[in-house]
Symmetry: C2
Subunit: 429 residues, 2 copies
């Protein structure tokens, strides 16, 4: 528990590790303490107020240890005016900074729109806000609305149509993305809600998705809704070389993307009723891992290396040719890696028809994975790996992609800058 007005232990450790400048920590703590005092109680002082850095080389919410909740939204730009866009990016930046330090929307920003208040009294909860630019920011319907078309990164392509996609238009695409992550669902939603209100007349919501990670221990890999550990084979956020190679955009440019990353969102519905009727052995063959331990088939520990060449007594591969882990492995993809930061989602039930024989239909869970991955280049990241998987992965029988998008997340924001400022300045209007 951290005394009010001082950075938290974890914040200090994080800052000391050099992940990003920890500017704003002190004032954030004070702000939260002040709110607590106004409420006439000391309850907020008794909980940990963990703050993630806002300014730095990279945006927060990418290499940040995953918070337990997300509220992720995509917006369509509805104003044709470049000045409106710039004003929006400015106010989003200052407000995102305020909120990630535990402060409400500042009155001088919008006298007529005070903070909606539902996060008042809540812990800061490690809130991060990660902004992304969709292809529609640069060109839409053949038009260059904001004079930015020449700055569209070559990597920001339209995602190809993948075999089996059942993308719902209303759940797909968008010109701007905002991913809020926090250790509290209301803190995450509150943040996107304020930013959306500030966008009134300039951008409007297109889709939004809640997600969560269950409360597994700090050294445990979370299990997804299929009951398997998910993320065992992920580049480590502590491996700077791997992060530079696979996640952060380098000098291949454009300059405003340096230190940034490309995010792919995919809303992946799982046919959980169907999955639950499958024998454990079949499930393990499908994943290529043991369910309880998470170990590769034939091994005993979760982090034992994947031996894709191992053969059983019958001469067949221990990890089947079409197992999920084999097809996702770097060795199956010319070394390609992506940084997965997925959440589970749970949107109740609806009437649906499964996409594979025997085409079960009825009231089924609309639940599964809100897949989020970051990469230096989607063409050599998600697209390359998923084009391979979508053809052969046994798991495809149980999952359906119903929405998502690709967004370019600019490099981190220096204090005094606004998100995307280097993009705007590179293309004077």
């Amino acid at each position: 528990m951290a005394p009010a007005g001082r950075p938290t232990r974890r914040g200090l450790v994080r800052a000391a590790a050099g992940l990003a400048a920890a500017a704003g920590l002190g004032s954030g703590g004070r702000a939260q303490a002040r709110i607590g005092a106004e409420l006439g109680g000391s309850a907020t002082d008794q909980r940990e107020n963990l703050i993630e850095p806002f300014w730095g080389t990279h945006q927060g919410g990418i290499a940040t240890p995953a918070q337990t909740h997300t509220y992720t939204a995509a917006l369509d730009l509805v104003s044709p005016k470049r000045d409106d866009l710039i004003r929006l990016l400015r106010v989003w930046t200052s407000t995102a900074w305020s909120m990630s330090a535990g402060q409400p929307v500042q009155p001088d920003i919008t006298p007529a729109l005070p903070d909606s208040g539902e996060a008042t009294g809540l812990p800061i909860a490690r809130l991060t806000l990660t902004f992304g630019f969709g292809a529609g920011l640069f060109a839409k319907d053949g038009g260059d609305r904001y004079g930015l078309a020449a700055q569209q990164p070559q990597a920001l392509i339209d995602l190809p149509a993948f075999n089996g996609d059942q993308l719902i238009d209303a759940r797909t695409g968008g010109d701007l993305s905002v991913q809020a992550c926090a250790d509290d669902p209301q803190v995450a939603f509150h943040a996107v809600r304020q930013l959306t209100r500030l966008a009134h007349g300039v951008a409007q919501l297109r889709w939004a998705q809640t997600g969560f990670i269950a409360g597994f221990g700090p050294n445990e890999t979370p299990r997804n809704l299929m009951g398997f550990k998910d993320r065992t084979n992920n580049p480590s956020i502590n491996d700077a070389a791997a992060m530079e190679r696979f996640v952060w955009v380098g000098d291949e440019g454009p300059d405003w993307m340096r230190g940034g990353s490309y995010v792919v969102f995919r809303r992946i519905r799982m046919a959980l009723e169907h999955w639950d009727r499958m024998p454990l052995d079949f499930q393990e063959q499908t994943f290529g891992r043991h369910k309880l331990s998470g170990a590769p088939l034939g091994r005993t520990n979760e982090f034992d290396p994947l031996d894709l060449d191992a053969a059983g007594e019958d001469g067949n591969p221990v990890i089947p040719e079409s197992a999920h882990v084999r097809l996702a492995a770097p060795a199956s993809n010319d070394g390609a890696q992506i940084f997965r930061r997925p959440y589970s989602y749970n949107d109740g039930v609806d009437f649906t028809t499964e996409r594979w024989a025997p085409w079960h239909q009825g009231i089924e869970y609309d639940a599964g994975l809100f897949f989020v991955c970051y990469q230096r280049d989607p063409r050599t990241g998600f697209i390359k790996i998923f084009e391979n998987m979508v053809k052969f992965d046994m798991l495809n029988q149980f999952v359906t992609h119903t929405g998502g998008g690709l967004f370019a997340c600019p490099g981190g924001i220096a204090r005094g800058e606004f998100i995307g400022q280097r993009l705007i300045e590179a293309a004077p209007g």
Copy 2:
């Protein structure tokens, strides 16, 4: 932090307070420790394994201090066989007990359907399961499927149609309800998922709803998504007389409902975009409370009494005639009270048209309140109070009821009994 194999501090306190028999605590702790050992780690030992009692005078999940997450489902019975129903209630009871003690579905229950595994390694998280019986259990389409029609309580009526209702059939009603509450969303969902699987061929999902309460401090009233504190004026679970009077069914019967309660679920969508455009003063007049403090208008502290007769200098009531708190107050309803145990819900966005002028339409939040209330008799509880509110409450402009149901939750289960056993025995087939 609780050593494995011993009941947690909180569990002991709860048991000592006499809320219910704490049977099963020890074995639950051991089970969880065993799972931890199988996983080869001690992570589970480092977290609190809080267990709520399962057997007792009342079902868990009613007077239980509210957990932070719910997964609530209603099912339709699809088998006409009384024996199938009885078998289902038996297996639901034993499995609910297992899970609330942190154990997976037991192999002897369903050799072909092992636990789906996604809660393995998670804390027990105070899981409770609360079962309810809808009117359709007793009579459906004029038929008495299970020989129980004569046992339908008079209080288990069809909810009347309320002014402004926009109930969606697929989100409304059901023959059985299961409300899982836990301090982890995956633990709650896991529990309902196992019970639903065990119902295969006997009952099938009709609707399901996730809900959450943000992480406010232990002595703070949670704020709903409108930013106001919700639940200030609630009967206290520590006030046994009030609970007997307003929540628990007494000797008015039927006998199997003694110690039980009636639950009303309402999925209440909030027009948050519209609400957020309203000035703070208007919002406070609508609720009848100050937003920041939660105090009644004109007062300073949250728990200051509601003075409905207070008038301002202009002679008008300080708390407006149509303010939410006035219309909900016992003094406005002949002393009627209900025990509210609501959650917020957040299901993303969709295209909608608001129900009040100026009839905004567009992509809006599908978020709001999953209202849950318990009462001794819905005719003198929710129905009485809500019929008053629905006509005059200023808040109606911003909320729309889109689903829900009324269920009779039997009294608590004695060890060795199954849920509803006294009902079944009262009506021999």
